[in-house]
Subunit: 183 residues, 2 copies
Amino acid sequence: MGKVLAGMNMSLDGFIEDRNGSVARLYPDLDALRQTDLIQKEIQSTGAVVMGRHAYDMAQGDFTGYEFQAPIFVLTHHVPETVAKGENERLRFIFVTDGIDHAITQAKSAAGDQDVVVIGGAQTVRQCLHAGLVDELEIGLAPVLLGGGLGLFEPHGSQPIELERISVIEYPWFTHLRFRVVR
Amino acid sequence: MGKVLAGMNMSLDGFIEDRNGSVARLYPDLDALRQTDLIQKEIQSTGAVVMGRHAYDMAQGDFTGYEFQAPIFVLTHHVPETVAKGENERLRFIFVTDGIDHAITQAKSAAGDQDVVVIGGAQTVRQCLHAGLVDELEIGLAPVLLGGGLGLFEPHGSQPIELERISVIEYPWFTHLRFRVVR
């Protein structure tokens, strides 16, 4: 079985979007980023993607040239009526309306021995973490204090989640931290 | 002139104390930590310390054997009546009641060509950052999601604060990130 990876880029003060909803400061050079060993390896090892509806909507229906050419499981309450651009034999959308557990289960099944990557948004990542569904957490820590916006983590009532640092990579744009989630 | 360094340890989700006010998870082995090159170098280069009243109170009046043997400027509204233990020729307390700017100015003057270290708490670090008084920000990022407690950063109305990564050190207990504050 592959692993379930969840990851996002965030500012040092924990925001994944600035106050205007922009992620430009956190993903400053997407083309260069896609050429990094990190992303290239992740593309090779990814068998399925899970994303929330907000993350899906942010692409505005166009997944042409999307880096992960794999089935994408979109967590949503309502299945959209229009079909996204960019679907092909490998990249297709499966809309999951019965919760994160089912999305991950289906994604794992589709991925086989490859990894499932949960690419966001924040709520989806949090739901996965709190449900104990994440094997590894990847954070691209951008060197900025945004001071506001959409936070990745939120105060919650449950126990602390222990992590174990696996690797640190210093990219020009951010510091990539990979953690194992201790269960 | 020396630099003004501000730094604290925080969880990956941005908390510097857990919900019970404990910092044990963030500073797990203080004795070992004090023996690291990082702290030893910082001790050598520190000419003055600035702390908030809460940080002062957390020591419960006993600074015997405190790592920074230098004048300590405590930002407070009310000067305490009792004298802390551990004062000596080098480590003495100066209570500053007229704001963070004055605390930093006095600390810089006392430090001479050595550095001023702002050790917290959160509010003091934030005030220094927002007033543009910090040259370098040091974060010890602990591998845990505490899920609640006292946050280091808070949403605020001002512009993003740009940082530039200077160094990353992987300690067993946390990842030490040092940033230059871009002005």
